[in-house]
Symmetry: C2
Subunit: 202 residues, 2 copies
């Protein structure tokens, strides 16, 4: 209700639950709760049905960690995709971002996050053991570490590098540089320095 803070009712509980979702705060949570409750049959019921349907039918792929409707996801099952190239991403959102480009024809491995001392994420919290096993068992030739260019992302990449078998396996990372369409003026110094160092001949 918002009038009496002593007794948390179902409405406060819903607002608190919404406010805990990524990107939402108390104000946007209140707005969404009111929107849902204002039309229970037209908005709230279909929303709850969509949630229930997704909760029931969406599974994490046993092989790569992607989300899909079967135990082994569509990408892992797709025979046209190269088995020799494996792209390591932190999360499913990163996998989707790469898929949207349509430029990658190998398979993926979703770590489920990056190592982070601050957030208490250690190697056992991520799908690292299964990645190393996969590299060993499946004759992967190239491993693309598509991790964010943040401190934690790069620490994770280094951690993996140290544990990957030396030799035939080629390990690459995404290129650093100026984003396409990006203005020099708005970029941080680190990006400009990297772009300068990796400059290409015209």
């Amino acid at each position: 209700m918002g009038t009496d803070r002593k007794d948390e009712g179902p409405l406060d509980a819903l607002i608190r639950s919404l406010a805990g979702l990524p990107g939402l705060g108390p104000r946007s949570a209140r707005r969404i709760a009111l929107h849902l409750l204002a039309s229970k049959t037209e908005v709230m019921a279909p929303f709850m049905a969509a949630l229930a349907q997704a909760a029931e039918s969406v599974h994490t792929c046993r092989s790569c960690g992607n989300l899909d409707f079967s135990d082994i996801c569509r990408i892992c099952r797709d025979e046209r995709r190269s088995r020799q190239t494996l792209c390591v991403v932190a999360g499913v959102a990163d996998l989707w971002a790469l898929e949207r480009t349509g430029a990658y024809k190998g398979r993926y491995h979703v770590l489920g996050g990056v190592l982070s001392a601050l957030d208490g994420v250690g190697p056992d919290d991520l799908r690292i053991a299964s990645l190393l096993q996969k590299v060993k068992d499946e004759g992967i030739q190239e491993l693309i570490l598509a991790l964010s260019a943040t401190v934690d992302g790069q620490a994770t990449a280094h951690y993996l590098m140290d544990r990957l078998p030396a030799g035939a396996l080629k390990v690459t990372r995404l290129a650093h540089g100026i984003p396409v369409g990006g203005e020099l003026d708005h970029l941080d110094d680190g990006t400009i320095v990297t772009a300068l160092k990796s400059r290409a001949a015209l």
Copy 2:
């Protein structure tokens, strides 16, 4: 999945449903869907339970349009609140904002929106008939029109003014002026002109 747009699965349906909520777009909807699905038992299940609980137990007050757990809301039932003063607000969020101040001790009437030619909201879409009835039946002495200082809000206020009984009923609106803590420099001309015209003696 995001890889194949032809077949919309439960995941796409959930993302579309989330993206339809106020303040959310496709990107934030994707992020929330992944957050929910990443921990079904710890995040998604409690969230769905909070939704179901709110859907079941939160009702619209028959008298004022507020949301509460009974047919007649706590504010309408509160005998300490003046029956002579009625504050007209567009939505429940506005009612909550006024309640948070603790400065108002009368009752409310939630219109459920404002008149808007652009959005196709006419008088019959709002709780206007029941407001006029209430004013007639319950001996209201002051009606505070706490509507937004927007074109639609002010048009709604004028519409109500035209239909309210002339005579004993005192109709007021919230004061216009400089927000407390507001800097002159950042305010629009209209607000400054209004504040100047309504200047108060020190």
